[in-house]
């Protein structure tokens, strides 16, 4: 980490997650972390490196390999006044805890009519492009964004990681915090010093443009930005929106942009069918169909279980800045 000014520090996404968790543990005795290999190993990505030495095994809990109870125990802690941060080592391993997230955490407040609450953060690294194969590369957001009672965040930049993770930790309801693992060390950026929060449900217009709106989140935000800048050199003007938060999602920013550019392209790594893009498309069709000059287009993951280990299989699954630029060009010229 390099301090570039008195007010900010350059970090990658791993460092931003780590710094934010560190601050939360320092500031609130009710906060603790539980997950697989978060103790002496310091998490497989070194996010909790040295935490156990500083905060002790009571607060940095190396759990047995049992994802359902990692989340379930965190739910119980949250119901009884603690502020647990549960970690699922890879998003692919979240399936055994599906009921605890969807059937329990999301319903605690609702089913007890507000008597009990579940202020819980579940962090997990997701996404591909890292040779993660079928079980270390999936995107899980679409499985959860259907569920009332949950909030879902998927930041792309270190400064957003910090502000949104702080918000998630403060939130009185369960938040699924998705960290794209390829961005962990690839993406660096200035992170303001000191405590700050970014509200959930506020998208970020990363680049303004006039001829096309591109909506994305996670790793693909960076690629979409690269692609939009390529087009800029050819005089084509593309607006790029980083959703940052998937549930709640920022309707206003999307609609304002679409009404201006009159064209919408959604790019995400997760499968196209039933994905986040489907909901955005439906919303825009309901609210702004007659403002559109072209059919909505989605550039998303293919309808296969996940990317294979062999490089051609991964490359075929993943999009690229080039493919995004091509789709943008076609949309602008439509």
């Amino acid at each position: 980490m390099a301090v570039v000014s008195a007010n900010s520090t350059v970090m990658n996404n791993v460092e931003a997650v780590r710094a934010t968790l560190y601050e939360a543990l320092r500031n609130d005795e009710r906060t603790l972390i539980l997950g697989e290999d978060v103790g002496a190993r310091g998490n497989v990505f070194l996010i909790t490196k040295d935490f156990v030495g500083e905060f002790g095994e009571r607060r940095i809990i190396d759990t047995p390999i049992a994802e359902a109870s990692i989340v379930g125990i965190a739910v119980g802690m949250a119901m009884e006044g603690l502020r647990p941060i549960a970690e699922i080592q890879f998003a692919d391993f979240i399936y055994p805890s599906f009921n605890q997230i969807v059937g329990e955490a999301a319903k605690i407040r609702y089913r007890s009519n507000g008597e009990y609450t579940c202020p819980l953060v579940i962090r997990t690294p997701y996404g591909g492009g890292v040779r993660g194969a079928l079980s270390h590369s999936v995107s899980v957001e679409a499985l959860f964004y259907h569920v009332p009672g949950l909030k879902i965040v998927a930041p792309a930049f270190p400064a957003d990681v910090k502000g949104l993770l702080n918000t998630a930790i403060d939130d009185p309801d369960p938040v699924l915090f998705l960290e794209h693992k390829k961005t962990y060390r690839l993406i660096k950026g200035e992170v303001p010093n000191g405590h700050y929060t970014i509200p959930l449900g506020k998208a970020n217009v990363l680049k303004e443009g006039a001829q096309l709106t591109v909506v994305s989140y996670g790793l693909y935000v960076h690629w979409a930005l690269d692609a939009a800048r390529q087009l800029q050199e050819d005089g084509l003007s593309v607006e790029v929106i980083d959703l940052r938060s998937i549930r709640p999602m920022d309707k206003t920013t999307i609609l304002e942009s679409v009404r201006k550019t009159r064209k919408l392209l959604i790019v995400h790594e997760d499968n196209k069918f039933g994905g986040i893009g489907a909901e955005i498309s439906a919303m825009v069709a309901e609210e702004a169909l007659f403002d559109l000059d072209a059919p909505i287009r989605r550039l998303c993951g293919p309808d296969v279980p996940a990317m294979g280990y062999a490089l051609p299989l991964e490359e075929e699954f993943m999009s690229s800045p080039g493919a995004m630029a091509q789709a943008m060009r076609e949309m602008v010229k439509f």
Binding site: G72, E104, G201, D250
Partner: protein, 341 residues
């Protein structure tokens, strides 16, 4: 131990006459409320009811070992007597059955899915064993905050011990020596599936050794023995001695629920035979025999329990349903839309 064969209350485990009477009254109240739920269903007044008949002694005894205002109960849906025993009123039970607005859950949950933060009763769903990690988390919170003298009493039926989260919970509480007691109410039935189709080793308590914790089996038809075993385990947990697995044997006399027909998988004769061990008349006989209660006391108790049930029924039925607008409240803190504008 067959209570009918018992000639004296050999060991009261410190229970006073007043406590013994309270346990018996709890048992009578359980049965009365259970019957009322089934009656209301047959009258078409409520869509569903679920009974705990056969569990009365076990639950009255276990509840007596619970310290109100300190311990936490993480029950399952066949725990009417435990919930009464830790302080829920018949009126609260009836609000749950009638799904009325003042119900703790606002009429959202099935009957018998009680919840009361004030009573230390953790909210739970119908997904079996899903509540156990929550109970573990609560026990962790107690230990984390250094709250000695408190413990979590978690319960489940025999069927639930097949769930993965049952194992995960037992494993975790043992590793961390949490103030936790796992009370299995073994009534031999998982809806229609008998014990021998649930597990090859029917003595569930023996699993304790595999987790590295003490385990014990007891006669759940004997409320005094139940109290003693649960209290021993809870005291160990409260004192920092870690978790215990205890298994109380009992029997499910009624069908699983008002929507179940148990005659499709067991015979009337079998149930009638098991009824001979019914813990409610057995405990009554014991208390009368030893002068803790007179026959007249029993009559008066029955009358007061019936009156209390009637009053609770009428009072709850008179309450309004939640309004349609209540469907949308208490999902998150504050107002909510998935689309933010």
């Amino acid at each position: 131990m067959d209570l009918n064969q018992r000639t004296e209350i050999e060991e009261r485990h410190g229970l006073t006459d007043e406590q013994l009477r309270a346990m018996f009254r709890n048992m009578l109240l359980q049965r009365q409320l259970d019957n009322r739920g089934f009656q209301l269903n047959r009258q078409g007044k409520v869509p569903f009811a679920l009974g705990s008949e056969g569990h009365e002694a076990l639950q009255a005894g276990a509840a007596m070992a619970f310290n109100r205002g300190r311990d936490i109960l993480a029950p399952y849906y066949r725990d009417l007597g435990l919930c009464l025993g830790i302080g829920l009123s018949p009126y609260e039970i009836m609000l749950s059955i009638f799904a009325r607005a003042p119900d703790h859950n606002g009429g959202r949950q099935f009957p018998n899915h009680y919840s009361s933060k004030a009573a230390g009763l953790m909210s739970f769903s119908s997904i079996l064993a899903a509540h156990l990690p929550h109970a573990v988390g609560a026990a962790y919170a107690m230990k984390y905050r250094g709250e000695s003298g408190r413990a979590v009493l978690a319960t489940c039926g025999d069927g639930t011990t097949s769930e993965g989260e049952w194992h995960e919970s037992m494993n975790f509480v043992a590793i961390h020596k949490l103030p936790f007691v796992m009370l299995v109410e073994n009534n031999e039935w998982a809806i229609s599936t008998p014990l021998d189709k649930q597990m090859a080793e029917p003595q569930i308590w023996k699993r304790a050794a595999g987790y590295g914790m003490p385990g014990k089996r007891f006669n759940g038809f004997d409320p005094i023995e139940t109290y003693a075993v649960v209290k021993e385990a809870m005291d160990r947990a409260r004192g920092g001695g870690g978790p215990t697995l205890i298994e109380g044997t009992c029997y499910r006399y009624l069908a699983h629920s008002t929507d179940d027909n148990d005659m499709t998988y067991r015979t009337r004769e079998v149930v009638t035979e098991r009824r001979k061990q019914d813990p409610v008349p057995a405990f009554e006989a014991l208390l009368v025999e030893h002068g803790v209660l007179t026959a007249q006391d029993v009559d008066e108790l029955r009358k007061s329990v019936l009156q209390e049930t009637n009053e609770a029924t009428d009072a709850a039925e008179a309450q309004p349903y939640p309004s349609a607008a209540d469907l949308y409240t208490n999902l998150y803190e504050g107002a909510w839309q998935p689309w933010q504008s």
